[in-house]
Symmetry: C2
Subunit: 229 residues, 2 copies
């Protein structure tokens, strides 16, 4: 059943740049393409937008279908529309970037039948289409956004130690941070709730675990707080 239009319409897709963090480094979720073009190459998860669904909805659906991930922070990144970015036909793609709590998704995605796997952002394989450029832009965005919005927490487990948070920032910003100053600043914002729990299974003194309180953040933001690192 063909669909006919008076003028040519480009195809519309969504692609997702999914970041995870496992306290050594920042990871990116890729899938191996089963079909041409770029068969066998690694690519961003994504696919065609259905005619009756919203863009973000499409992005969430594709990520769920291809990687099994359903709970994530998702934000529109940029729309890529170079006429030659797909060798088959004109395809415009709305790219999203996503942050997930990797610990909860590690096994699932890695063992997925569609050949999904996590790669260190610093060491990615060659990517299909213009996906390298999309990843690059997403990483830039993450770098800048993490400094003035509390989105880093989306990459950590529910409960985390301050040193884990610090390492996250050090990895993303690619610069060392003074421990004392970091703690002072982050704690003084009043966004973290002490859980009264401590790390388990560590081979040294266990650290206190904290929880990020989004509602507290919304309250304080309204009173003029601005998160900044």
């Amino acid at each position: 059943m063909p669909y006919t239009y008076q003028y040519p319409h480009p195809a519309l897709t969504v692609d997702g740049v999914v970041f995870g963090f496992d306290d050594a480094d920042l990871k990116l979720l890729l899938i191996q393409r089963a079909l041409d073009p770029f068969q066998g190459k690694w690519a961003l998860p994504g696919g065609f937008v259905r005619i009756e669904e919203g863009l973000e909805q499409a992005a969430r659906r594709e990520l769920a279908e291809e990687t099994g991930i359903t709970r994530l922070y998702l934000e529109q990144l940029f729309t890529f529309g170079d006429p030659k970015r797909d060798p088959r036909e004109r395809v415009v793609s709305v790219a999203y970037y996503a942050l997930v709590k990797l610990a909860a998704h590690r096994v699932r995605a890695a063992s997925d039948a569609r050949h999904a796997a996590w790669f260190p952002v610093a060491d990615l394989p060659a990517l299909a289409f213009d996906h390298a450029a999309i990843v690059e832009l997403a990483f830039q965005r993450l770098k800048t956004k993490v400094r003035y919005e509390p989105i880093g927490f989306e990459l950590l487990p529910e409960k985390f130690a301050l040193s884990e948070l610090q390492r996250l920032y050090e990895v993303i910003l690619a610069q060392p941070i003074d421990k004392r100053n970091f703690r002072k600043k982050i704690l003084s914002m009043g966004l973290l709730q002490d859980t009264d729990e401590i790390q388990q299974d560590v081979t040294h003194r266990a650290a206190r675990l904290y929880r990020f309180e989004p509602r507290r953040y919304e309250q304080l933001k309204r009173k003029g707080l601005n998160f900044e690192l």
Copy 2:
């Protein structure tokens, strides 16, 4: 000559949110729709993306065709794809926002045959489609971006007085700024070149005119400067 696809494709458009500044307030360029839907209503300039052209290219072409404006700062804003945003069919629109030196474009746009006109941002007419939401987002973006990137200059004439620049910031940020601190800060960044000229036709002491030096900014940025207000 119809175009046929195996699956339905949404239509793809670009829309432009064009800001101008005339030292009293911030203005927005709108055009009056000649056709249904929303005939006679004011709307953002924009139109369909041609099959062989890039997105930004399409945005520039539409702005040139509908408003005569060709030299402007243009940046992709967001892609709007709610399935019901256009009553006719599914239309996904890539929105751009643009900053123009209004003084150079005032007459042209206002007298244009396509009924283009500048409206104060604070007092806009009802807009077609979801254009009010697009404008809202663009204004938000302008507000935040103007604080950490030197894009305000795109709204001013080539040569401008510091008080004009200050008023621009006061209007966009909707808050008063201390004159001495503003001057100290902006001049200390070393981005402005004194033109050795002064205002003409003013009814009081004429102010020095400055020029923003984009190349100087690029140099200093590489050395770690970050513009911030």
